[in-house]
C-alpha cells in the first residue's frame, strides 16, 4: 500500500502514540453464535470465531449476509439466540452495550445532530462520568490527531461527509475501548478519500493496537485492511484466513468467486486419465493428486491473472476470440467466451451479484465467459482470434455438487494450513 508512506498521514500518527495511552489488547471469542430475528429470519447461523488480541479482522460478504447483525450482536445491540460471546476473558453474552467496553462506528455515522463536534466526541466520556477537564483534554487530543481541531464547535450539519466520518471515528477512538467495531465506515466516501482513509485506518490500528472487527462489502478494503478476513454468506461463516490464503486457497466456490477482482473464471470440466479437460484443452493434474486416479466432473477455477498470451512454453493453450477489451491504463481486461458450459451455481451467483460489475451479461449466457488480466502492451483486438495459455499450477478445482474445494487433493504446496 503506497498510501501508507505519504507524509500528511504519517505526521498525525506519530502524535497519536503520544496522545493516547495504549491498553493491553484483548481478544474476542464467538462460540456457536446464532441470531434469529422475531419473524424467523436467521441472520447468523452458528458462527464460531476467535479474534486474537490486537487483531484487525474484516468481515466481508454480499449484502444481507448478516455482517451488520454480527457486529451488533458483538456490541450488545442485539441479543444472541444461542451461543456465547467473550471479550477478553469476560463472558459478555448477557451484558448491555453500556457495560461492554466497545466502541462502534456506524454505517450512517449516527452523529448527534444537536451537539457540536466537541459534544459528539466527548459524549461517551461524559456518559462514563469522566470529568470536564479530562474530557476536554482527551477530545482535543483526538481532534488534533484526526485534524478536526478547527471544527470542534461546529454542528455535524456543517461538516462534509469526510469530516463527519472522522468525527464518528474520533468518537470511537476517544474512549480508548477494548474493541472497535466498524460497520462500513468508508462506504459513503468518494473513491480517493476512501483510499486515503483506508491507509489512515491501517496506521491508526498499528499505533493503537486495539482489537478491531471491521465490516465491509468492498473486497479491496477487506484485502488491504484485514490481518485476517472472515467471509460470511447467508449468516454462515465460510472461511477465516489471511488475505493471501483466502485468495490463493479458497475453501469453496463462493469464497473463490467472491474474493478477487475481476472474479475468478469458472468452467465445467471432466477429469479422466489424470487430466482435466474442457473446451478442447487438456490440463494434466499432479500425478500425486487423488484427482489423478479415476474419473469425475469438476468445476475448474482460473484467476484472470493465471491467463496469459501463449508463448509456446508448454502450458496448456486455448484458442479464443476476444469479445470485449477493457483498457485500464497499465493493464487490459480481455473478456472472451469459452466453448464449455457456463458455471451457474447458487454460490457463484451470490458472490458475483454482490460485485455489481457483471460483464458476463454482455456475452452469450450459455457458454462460460472468461476474463483475462493481461499487461497493457498486449496486442489484442476485439474479434481477432488469439491463443491464451493457462498456468496449470494455479488452477482451482471444486466439487460441482457441494462447491467445496478439491484443492487438498490436488495441491502439494499448500500443506495443512487454515482449515
Amino acid at each position: 500500500m503506497s498510501e501508507k508512506t505519504s507524509e500528511n498521514q504519517a505526521a498525525p500518527a506519530t502524535t497519536l502514540t503520544a496522545a493516547i495511552s495504549t491498553r493491553e489488547p484483548v481478544g474476542i471469542r464467538l462460540e456457536n453464535v446464532s441470531k434469529r430475528f422475531r419473524g424467523g429470519v436467521e441472520a447468523i447461523k452458528d458462527v464460531t470465531l476467535a479474534v486474537a488480541p490486537g487483531e484487525f479482522v474484516v468481515l466481508v460478504g454480499p449484502s444481507g449476509c448478516g455482517k451488520s447483525t454480527l457486529l451488533r450482536v458483538l456490541a450488545g445491540l442485539e441479543e444472541v439466540s444461542s451461543g456465547r460471546i467473550h471479550i477478553g476473558d469476560k463472558d459478555v453474552t448477557t451484558q448491555l452495550p453500556q457495560q461492554r467496553d466497545v466502541a462502534m462506528v456506524f454505517q450512517s455515522y449516527a452523529l448527534y445532530p444537536r451537539m457540536s463536534v466537541r459534544g459528539n466526541i466527548g459524549f461517551g466520556l461524559r456518559m462514563r462520568g469522566i470529568g470536564k477537564d479530562e474530557r476536554r483534554r482527551r477530545v482535543e487530543e483526538v481532534a488534533q490527531v484526526l485534524g478536526l481541531e478547527h471544527l470542534l464547535d461546529r454542528r455535524p450539519a456543517a461538516l462534509s461527509g469526510g469530516q463527519r466520518q472522522r468525527v464518528a471515528m474520533g468518537r470511537a477512538i476517544v474512549r480508548e475501548p477494548q474493541v472497535f467495531l466498524m460497520d462500513e465506515p468508508l462506504s459513503n466516501l468518494d473513491a480517493k478519500l476512501r483510499v486515503s482513509m483506508r491507509a489512515q485506518l491501517t496506521l491508526l490500528h498499528k499505533r493503537l493496537g486495539v482489537t478491531t472487527v471491521y465490516v465491509t462489502h468492498d473486497q479491496t478494503e477487506a484485502m488491504t485492511l484485514g490481518q485476517r478476513v472472515a467471509v460470511l454468506r447467508d449468516g454462515v461463516l465460510q472461511q477465516v484466513d489471511t488475505p493471501q490464503q483466502l485468495f490463493h486457497h479458497p475453501v469453496n466456490l463462493f469464497v473463490a468467486a467472491f474474493i478477487g477482482s475481476p472474479s475468478m473464471n469458472f468452467v465445467h470440466a471432466t477429469v479422466s486419465n489424470g487430466a482435466a479437460s474442457f473446451a478442447g484443452v487438456r490440463i494434466p493434474v499432479r500425478p500425486d493428486s487423488p484427482l489423478a486416479r479415476g474419473d469425475r466432473k469438476v468445476i475448474v477455477g482460473v484467476r484472470p491473472t493465471s491467463l496469459s498470451l501463449a508463448s509456446g512454453n508448454g502450458q496448456p493453450e486455448l484458442a479464443v476470440t476476444p469479445a470485449i477489451v477493457e483498457d485500464l491504463g497499465d493493464e487490459r481486461f480481455v473478456i472472451f467466451d469459452v466453448d464449455a458450459p457456463r458455471v451457474d451455481t447458487e454460490a457463484t451467483r451470490a458472490a458475483v451479484e454482490a460485485q455489481a460489475a457483471d460483464d458476463a451479461l454482455l456475452v452469450p449466457l450459455d457458454r462460460a465467459t472468461f476474463t483475462a488480466r493481461l499487461p497493457a502492451g498486449t496486442p489484442v483486438t476485439v474479434g481477432e482470434p488469439i491463443t491464451v495459455a493457462l498456468d496449470p499450477d494455479r488452477l482451482h478445482f471444486f466439487d460441482p455438487a457441494t462447491g467445496a474445494s478439491l484443492e487438498e487433493a490436488t495441491s502439494l504446496t499448500r500443506g495443512a494450513s487454515s482449515r
Binding site: 448491555l96 466502541a103 454505517q107 450512517s108 448527534y112 459524549f123 455535524p156 461538516l159 463527519r164
Partner: protein, 285 residues
C-alpha cells in the same frame, strides 16, 4: 412563443394571470368571512360603553379606547393567574411524559408495545362527559377537588394520549443507529432520551406544548367541576363576567380578548420551533 424571448422564461398557461387573480379574490373573501367575529370582538372591546349595542355592532367606534380592558382586568386577573398556574405545568409535564412514552414506544421497544400503544390512543376517544362524574368522585376521595392540583393532574392524564402520539410519530422517523450509538457510548434509556432524543424532538415538543397549553387553557368543563371559586380558571371567570343579567358586551369582548392572548403567545413563541432540519448532519453525506 414570441414572448418567450422577451419575458423571463416561465412555464405557464395562457390563462394563468386570470387564474391567479381569481384565486386571490376567493381566498381574500374567505379570509374576511373568517375574520368577521374577530372584527366584532376587537371593535366592540374598544368602543365606549354608550356606543355598544347590537344594532351598531358593525360600526367602527368613534374613538378607540382601551379603558374597558383596564376595567375588566381586575375581575379577570385571579382566574388568569389560576389558568397560567394550571396550564403551564399541565402542558410541560404532559409533554415530557408523552415524550418518554413516545420514545419507548418508538425506539426502546419492549414486548407488548404494540398492544400498549393502541390502548393509550384509545384514551383520546373517551368523551369528557362520560368520565366526569366518576372522575370527580375519585378526586374527592383523593382530596384533590377544589384546588388546582386536581385539575392539573386531570389535564396531564387527559393529554397523554395525544402527546404520546405526537412524540411517537416523531421518534419513529429518527435513525435507529442514533439511539444505538448513544447506547454504545454508555447512555441508558433515560440519558439517551434526555441527551439525544429530546433535543432532536424540539419540533414535536413545540407541537405538543401548543396543543396541550391550548386545550388546558380553553377547558371549561373540568375547571368548573373540579375547582372552587378561588381556583377558577379564566374560562370559568369569563363565563361569570359574560353571564350577568344585562350583558355588557364590551366587557365580555374585552375579557375574551384578554383571555385568548396567552394561547396566541404560546403559538407565536413555540411556532418558531416548527423549523425543519433538526436532524441535519446526523447521517452520512
Amino acid at each position: 412563443m414570441k414572448t418567450a424571448a422577451e419575458a423571463p422564461t416561465r412555464i405557464r398557461s395562457r390563462w394563468s394571470a386570470y387564474v391567479t387573480t381569481t384565486r386571490y379574490i376567493v381566498l381574500f373573501a374567505l379570509v374576511c368571512l373568517f375574520l368577521i367575529p374577530v372584527y366584532v370582538l376587537l371593535v366592540t372591546a374598544m368602543k365606549d360603553p354608550a356606543q355598544v349595542s347590537p344594532s351598531r355592532m358593525w360600526q367602527l367606534p368613534d374613538s378607540f379606547s382601551l379603558d374597558t380592558f383596564g376595567a375588566v382586568w381586575p375581575v379577570l386577573e385571579p382566574g388568569f393567574r389560576n389558568s397560567v398556574l394550571m396550564a403551564v405545568p399541565a402542558s410541560i409535564i404532559s409533554s415530557l411524559l408523552g415524550a418518554a412514552n413516545g420514545f419507548v414506544l418508538a425506539k426502546w421497544r419492549f414486548p407488548g408495545a404494540d398492544i400498549v400503544f393502541p390502548l393509550i390512543l384509545f384514551g383520546m376517544f373517551i368523551p369528557y362527559q362520560a368520565i366526569l362524574i366518576p372522575m370527580r368522585e375519585l378526586l374527592t376521595d383523593w382530596n384533590l377537588v377544589g384546588g388546582l392540583s386536581g385539575l392539573i393532574l386531570v389535564h396531564i392524564i387527559y393529554g397523554l394520549p395525544i402527546t404520546t402520539l405526537i412524540f411517537r410519530s416523531y421518534f419513529v422517523t429518527i435513525s435507529d443507529e442514533l439511539i444505538d450509538s448513544a447506547q454504545v457510548d454508555g447512555a441508558g434509556m433515560i440519558r439517551t432520551l434526555a441527551f439525544v432524543a429530546l433535543p432532536i424532538a424540539l419540533p414535536a415538543f413545540a407541537v405538543s406544548m401548543i396543543w396541550q397549553f391550548t386545550s388546558a387553557w380553553n377547558d371549561f368543563l373540568f375547571g368548573l367541576v373540579l375547582t372552587s371559586t378561588n381556583s377558577w380558571p379564566v374560562t370559568v371567570a369569563l363565563n361569570n363576567i359574560a353571564g350577568g343579567q344585562v350583558v355588557p358586551f364590551h366587557e365580555a369582548m374585552a375579557s375574551a380578548l384578554l383571555a385568548s392572548i396567552p394561547t396566541l403567545l404560546v403559538y407565536v413563541l413555540m411556532g418558531r420551533f416548527f423549523m425543519r432540519g433538526l436532524m441535519a448532519g446526523a447521517l452520512k453525506g
